[in-house]
């Protein structure tokens, strides 16, 4: 792709000045291109939210450069924010207003005329499947509905970039799928999506390209398929053992494949062919309580890169 990036970060750093100064983002570089869905994958505390808050121009950049829509985040915050949609991690809906009023007043903060707002409100309530909730108090909505309303609110100014900080954390599977479907729709409509998540399935489902963050740094970048190919094997064999012979069995498996990860609850063997590895393990006299062959996922990429699993 040769188009100019919508977001461009160079040596981007965030230090919080408190009694104990803390550097949450340690000099990261990345680019987000027009129309793509770009993910930031990482465990809690990796620096994802700090990065998002800097891009949203609500948190000042400590050092490095951050250019968004061709403007400087440090100088043109107000003008950049006018063209962004932000879905924060915390629920920040205005509880003193009804569902519809939340959209209307938020639009007023952008200076959109009332007449245009009323029309857009109807469209957005329909888009977020909240048509019949307009006059209700925000507190009566379910978690999934509140998230959809927050997304609708973020779309009131027809943003070119939508920032989503852990959009489905805390939602049940059905609510997540409905949300993903809406996000796909937005992507189809040409909105550039930038989202953070610690769910690998979400990253695989939604993201064209992603970066993996760990302890304030970017440790890998690429498409989900790319990352899996580069940092993991094609298949994975997972073995579980009875507690009393666990250590013995783990010792026996050493060297069966090039890479073996010992996790608290299971043993993970990285292999090109899971079935033949399982056969090899059996031949060594290993008797697993459970064996499971699957294809590699981003979870394995994360494990390879950081030595930790994503959701702990």
């Amino acid at each position: 792709m040769t188009t100019a990036p919508l977001i461009e970060a160079r040596d981007l750093t965030k230090t919080y000045v408190t009694s104990e100064p803390y550097t949450a983002v340690k000099g990261i570089d990345f680019e987000v291109r027009p129309g793509e869905a770009f993910g930031v994958l990482g465990a809690n505390g990796a620096g994802k939210s700090s990065t998002m808050r800097m891009i949203a121009c609500v948190s000042p950049v400590t050092s490095g450069t951050l250019r968004i829509l061709g403007m400087d985040a440090a100088r043109d915050g107000e003008r950049i924010r006018a063209r962004l949609g932000v879905v924060p991690q915390d629920d920040t809906l205005d509880t003193e207003l009804t569902v519809r009023e939340n959209l209307l007043i938020y639009g007023r903060y952008f200076g959109i005329p009332w007449k245009a707002l009323r029309e857009r409100c109807d469209q957005l309530l329909a888009f977020s499947r909240l048509e019949d909730k307009g006059s209700q108090a925000v507190s009566t909505l379910s978690g999934g509905m509140r998230r959809r309303l927050t997304i609708a609110r973020a779309l009131i100014n027809q943003p070119e970039i939508l920032l989503l900080d852990e959009p489905t954390t805390g939602l049940d599977p059905q609510a997540r799928h409905l949300l993903w479907e809406r996000l796909f729709q937005l992507k189809e409509d040409g909105v550039t999506l930038l989202l953070t998540t610690h769910y690998m399935d979400e990253a695989e489902q939604l993201c064209d390209r992603l970066v993996v963050m760990d302890a304030g740094k970017i440790v890998a970048e690429g498409s989900p398929a790319d990352l899996i190919e580069r940092h993991s094997t094609r298949e994975v064999l997972e073995l579980r053992f009875a507690a009393h012979e666990r250590q013995l069995m783990i010792d026996k498996c050493a060297g069966v494949t090039e890479r073996v990860e010992v996790l608290p609850d299971r043993l993970v063997l990285y292999t090109g062919d899971g079935e033949s590895t399982l056969a090899a393990v059996h031949a060594l006299g290993v008797r697993p309580a459970g064996a499971f062959v699957r294809r590699s996922t981003l979870e394995d990429v994360f494990l390879t890169l950081t030595g930790r699993s994503l959701v702990e």
């Binding site: 205005d94 007023r108 903060y109 200076g111």
Partner: protein, 260 residues
């Protein structure tokens, strides 16, 4: 998007937000009008029967209710503005995260601060006008300058709303809001609300004269009674300087609180 250019009037959307909310909760304003009326009836009229005219004033014909009414109006203007920018704003700042959401839009901390102060003024105008009409109806106003009470109340509201903005950035928890009451109540009782300055010994007089509510009361009283204009000018200067200084400090502190 051309409709999203930066207009200075953006702060007014904060007022629009509050107007939407008050469509549902307007009876709150009634309580604010009734409170000074209750004080006026209990202290002004009730105790006024015992007191008669107020001793120690240049004009010895001023009845006690006429002395107390402007003080209560100044206090109402103060309380209305302070409540709006301390209690109500702290809820939005700490618990509801309303401002965090607002600042992801092109709104600046300054627009938020100015918007909330404007809203506090608007409420204050409604309360002070209603109170003025009420005391006029029971015959406590005697001069046309009493009309100046409304702009005076506006100035008082602006100053205390700005002071409240500074206070709200200093609060660490809900417990801290108790400290506000600890300052406000004695100030209400002793800022020449119920008796003239001359009753205090000299050192206490100096202390009282330093209080913003004292000057607010003197200003409203001058308009209400039509005398004491020299003092009213001092009060105006005092309130303008204090209000502007507070607003400058508040906007800076609010920006630092909200944009971490």
């Amino acid at each position: 998007m051309s409709e999203l250019t930066l207009r200075p009037g953006r702060a007014f959307s904060m007022v629009e937000r509050n107007l939407l909310i008050y469509r549902h909760t307007w009876p709150v304003l009634l309580a604010e009008i009734f409170e000074p009326m209750m004080y006026l009836l209990a202290f002004g009229v009730g105790i006024g029967v015992l007191v008669g005219n107020v001793p120690g004033l240049a004009d010895t014909t001023v009845s006690f209710p006429r002395f107390v009414a402007p003080a209560l109006l100044a206090t109402a203007a103060m309380n209305g503005a302070m409540n709006e920018t301390t209690f109500n704003m702290y809820a939005k700042l700490a618990t509801e995260k309303t401002y965090q959401a607002i600042l992801t839009t092109p709104m600046s901390s300054r627009a938020v601060a100015l918007g909330e102060v404007t809203w506090a003024l608007l409420r204050g105008t409604i309360v002070s006008t209603t109170f003025l009409v009420a005391v006029s109806l029971i015959g406590l106003t005697g001069t046309w300058t009493a009309l100046l009470v409304v702009p005076a109340a506006l100035l008082i509201g602006a100053t205390f709303a700005s002071l409240g903005l500074v206070v709200v950035t200093l609060l660490r928890s809900w417990q801290d809001t108790q400290l506000i009451q600890l300052v406000m109540l004695p100030m209400f009782l002793f800022s020449t609300t119920f008796f003239p300055l001359s009753v205090y010994p000299k050192p206490v007089q100096w202390l009282v004269e330093a209080l913003p509510l004292y000057h607010s009361i003197e200003l409203v009283r001058a308009c209400f009674l039509g005398t004491g204009w020299r003092h009213a000018l001092i009060a105006i200067a005092y309130l303008v300087v204090l209000g502007l200084a507070a607003l400058l400090v508040a906007v800076r502190r609010l920006d630092r609180t909200l944009r971490t």
